[in-house]
Amino acid sequence: MARAARKAKKAAKQPASHRTWALSYLAVAAVMFVVYQYALPWEGLPLPIYDFLQLWLPPSSVNEALVYVICALGLNIVVGYAGLLDLGYVAFWAIGGYSAGWFMSNFFEQWNVHGLASVATTEPGVHINFWLVLVIGGAVCAFFGVIIGAPTLRLKSDYLALVTLGFGEIIPQIFFNGEDINGFNLSNGTKGITRLDPIPTGVKDLGPFDFGSKFVVFVLLAAIMVFISLQLRRGRLGRAWLAIREDELAASMMGVPLMRTKLASYAVGAVAGGIGGVAFATHVDGVYAERFNFSISIFLLAMVVLGGMGNVWGVILGAFILAWVNSTGLPALGDTFNSQFGTEIDFPSFTFLLFGLVLIFMILFKREGLIPESRLRLVLHEGDADEELKPAHEEEK
């Protein structure tokens, strides 16, 4: 009886909380969409509100934050689920970005390939449909994830972090210097690849400045990542990831193949990085090698830690907050502060000081993140957990 009752309570509790979160996510997205698509261009909107929104929450900052959300959700599978510290995640972001650059622009003028693209077939270059490029970018990243992961994932903790850090430097450097590889221009070097094809949505094609509809595409991609994360988490593979995070030796003694399972998490994370890379390229309408630097990897890791390792909703919140602070919050705060007090403090230059403080603060006082995974809350607050448990024991007697 008691067991059935507790089970029912648990069953009722858990999916409902995910459902609540999912609905809140969609509701917030819907409100934002209405604001950007209809309220902001509306002439009757009072000027102060317009100015406020443009200063504190411009459409481009929201879209950029969503790109970070997609990538952070992927990193969460590697770091949060499987417990593998990856400091080179930017590599996949770069590969995804260049996939978009290669397959959605005039860059490869020497070829003329068209695949359901949104541009006229007379355009030179490789032009493939955005949605297909997402798949291609994801697949290319999965491939590189396995190539990079196979030798590195044999290492443990600190060593793994160091080697992934190395790969996170190597891949962007290849693109940075890839202007002339035996006469072949792979990446256009520091000049980057610019002007990507618009996103075909079926309704209308999205140009580079159509923020509202691009917003919908990014919200959808992030939602797909959430769905994939949650589904995998509650299945055979997700259990194996968690077991490895808990106790690697015991997991292997229970028949879990360590390498294959870790590789799977690395590859799934890489796919998300690739999709995020394609999204980022369409967001800024170009691919620039210098944007893919080490700080992005750390930035994404900070998002996962701030939000709550292993909890997709926490990661979304963490990614959104940090991306916003980085792109808009600090510069806007700086402008307001400087114009108010007549100072000339360069606020954005304090970004990493701030993030460092956030990380230190989180590790010291709130290690489980803003919205913790229920399991982690249990370890990090031993005392609370014991109290919560008592009723369950008594109920049993």
Binding site: I228, L237, L242, E246, A251, M253, G255, V268, A392
Partner: protein, 265 residues
């Protein structure tokens, strides 16, 4: 009770060398089908090293291990586990932040088939497989007597229940051999007595052979059908509990030579 002649595991001439130290020296050891056998010896005798050779954690410098008619000497641990050799740990190593039933379902990993795509899409086959796995997990938990804790996190279970959960998790691998590493460590004599019955019940109901590493002599004597004694990496005796109890070399190894001579007078 006579032991079956059919062997489920046969390790021959196993030696393990760590640098200059010969931790296990030319030990041959087998496990008959559906038997309960024990490996004992003083601290540092090489029991755990030998155990780790069987589970694939160490590769022996010499000798080979046959599982049925398949050689497993060079297989990785997870392969050995999935073909039917499951173990428990001396210092309980459960997945603390997973529920009891999830712990068992991790052990079923190698028997389940769903891949990434079918898990994301929740195909009918995947759902069916998950449901069957959950039912099996519940059934095993009931069998070891902790069914009521199925949805509790492993770390919240009492010490005795955690020991049972370790056995349950090992059984979820559908093993032919169950290796128990000091399963009664930390138990009082009464609990150990219950445990002896439990071991026989597991063997009879689950059709497994059981290998025990144990310090508690009363447990070893009452539970085992055959005992093998290691001392300083070498096998010094093997036989029924009665034979081992009166074996001079065993008494020397455990109590020291002087004591055994004193006993002889």
């Amino acid at each position: 009770m006579t032991l079956s002649n059919e062997l489920v595991l046969d390790a021959t001439h196993i030696s393990v060398q760590f640098g200059g130290l010969l931790a296990v020296n030319d030990v041959s050891f087998n496990i008959p089908k559906k038997s309960v056998v024990s490996l004992i010896g003083p601290n540092g005798a090489g029991k755990t090293t030998f155990f780790n050779v069987l589970t694939g954690l160490y590769k022996p410098s010499e000798g080979k291990v046959m599982f049925g008619d398949r050689e497993i000497t060079d297989l990785p641990p997870h392969k050995i586990a999935s073909i039917g050799l499951a173990r428990t740990f001396q210092n309980i190593r459960l997945f603390g932040l997973m529920t009891a039933e999830e712990n068992l379902m991790v052990a079923m990993h190698s028997h389940l088939k769903s891949g990434i795509a079918s898990t994301i899409l929740r195909t009918p086959r995947q759902r069916k497989e998950e449901k069957e796995a959950l039912d099996t997990a519940r059934e095993i938990l009931d069998f070891v007597g902790i069914g009521k804790w199925a949805t509790e996190y492993a770390r919240n279970l009492s010490y005795g229940d955690q020991r049972r959960l370790e056995v349950a998790r090992a059984l979820a691998l559908k093993p032919e051999i169950l290796l128990l590493d000091e399963p009664t460590a930390g138990m009082n004599p009464q609990e150990s007595g219950v445990f002896v019955d439990f071991v026989h019940r597991v063997r009879d109901a689950r059709d497994v052979a059981i290998l025990l590493i144990e310090h508690d002599m009363s447990v070893v004597m009452s539970v085992s059908e055959r005992i093998t004694v290691l001392d300083r990496g070498e096998k010094i005796a093997e036989g029924s509990p009665e034979e081992i109890r009166s074996n001079q070399r065993v008494i020397e190894a455990y109590l020291g030579k002087a004591a055994s001579e004193g006993r002889g007078k």
